[in-house]
């Protein structure tokens, strides 16, 4: 029983392992760690919502190998990302860079929040300042109708 459980757990662990193939790995663990971190930042352009670290696509494999080549050749992380952006555009970055074109994307939600807070503050201030007006007293006619309704309700 224990053996079956262990086998099942190992199987699950294997299934959740990433797409990086053993043959792609670099011997130097520090470089390999940088390569893994970088490939987690890059979008697979074939599947679009996976990083190339997760993807089994052919192009993702080629790009992973390319990253490792660049790193082995002494490129910095920023240079590798620049290399990719030069070819595929900002879209390849899973984290959009902060620059004038993306200000709306990054800061838009905060602007909307600030506008909402401003609106709420103005509304609250105005309703606090305006004195609570007591409703006009009932006319004799309305008094009579109210009495009648109350009596009916009890009866």
């Amino acid at each position: 029983m224990k053996a079956i459980l262990l086998a099942a757990m190992l199987g699950l662990a294997a299934a959740s392992a990433l797409a990086v193939e053993p043959g792609e790995r670099l011997a130097d663990p520090a470089l390999e760690a940088r390569a893994r971190a970088l490939s987690g930042e890059l979008r697979c352009l074939v599947c679009q919502n996976q990083s190339i670290d997760d993807s089994n696509a052919d192009l993702a494999h080629d790009l992973r190998v390319l990253i490792r080549e660049r790193l082995s050749a002494g490129d910095s992380d920023a240079q590798v990302l620049q290399f990719m952006v030069h070819r595929y555009g900002d879209f390849i970055l899973l984290r959009p860079p902060v620059k004038p074109e993306t200000y709306l994307l990054w800061f838009g939600p905060f602007v909307v929040l600030a506008l909402g807070a401003l609106g709420a503050a103005l509304y609250l201030r105005r309703s606090r300042r305006a004195p609570q007006q007591a409703p006009a007293p009932l006319s004799p006619d309305e008094q009579r109708r109210l009495q009648k309704l109350l009596v009916e309700d009890q009866g």
Binding site: L59, D62, R87, G89, F91
Partner: protein, 176 residues
């Protein structure tokens, strides 16, 4: 006049909805190209089975069409008759880059369907493709006389793409 402020949320909603409608009709698999108006990357590729290859610096000063294709690529088959037609009608060279393919398979593909390409480079490991920003075949590029990429078409060309975009651009670039 003050009432108009109540229309503001509706206006904002309409603007957002309009944006979504436009975005829905856009094909999300077609990505903007980072290489438009950039110089085409330098490359030198061997040819298929001993035929002459293709290098960027050989076609400087001409307007050229570069088509990335592969024998394993089904949409390339669909596009092929149109490329044959372009090679015959467009007064500009059509060059092919055989992307991640075995030369013998590519040769069979071309002998079966015809060869529209003036020259073919074999990009066996796909590195030239990566330099161009290719993420799937077929892709077609128009390169101007100065060696800059002027048009990129992702996916198979259709006659509509050619009449609407590609042919007018090539004609204009040839004049300049």
């Amino acid at each position: 006049m003050r009432r108009l402020i109540y229309l503001l949320p509706i206006a904002a909603f309409m603007a957002l909805a309009g944006y979504f409608v436009v975005s829905l009709s856009r094909d999300p698999s077609v990505l903007p190209s980072a290489m438009i108006n950039q110089p085409a990357p330098a490359f030198t590729l061997a040819g298929l089975q001993g035929q002459p290859g293709l290098a960027r610096d050989e076609f400087r000063g001409q307007v050229v069409l570069i088509n990335f294709f592969a024998s394993w690529c089904v949409p390339c088959r669909a596009e092929h008759p149109l490329l044959m037609q372009l090679a015959a009608e467009l007064k500009t060279p059509v060059y092919g880059i055989d992307y991640k393919d075995k030369p013998e398979d590519a040769a069979r593909f071309l002998s079966e369907l015809g060869n529209p390409y003036g020259l073919i480079g074999a990009d066996r490991d796909g590195r030239v493709g990566i330099d161009f920003g290719v993420y799937g075949v077929p892709e077609t590029y128009v390169i101007d006389k100065a060696g800059r990429i002027r048009l990129r078409h992702v996916g198979p060309l259709t006659p509509a793409d050619v009449t609407r975009e590609l042919a007018p651009l090539v004609k204009e670039l040839q004049k300049s």
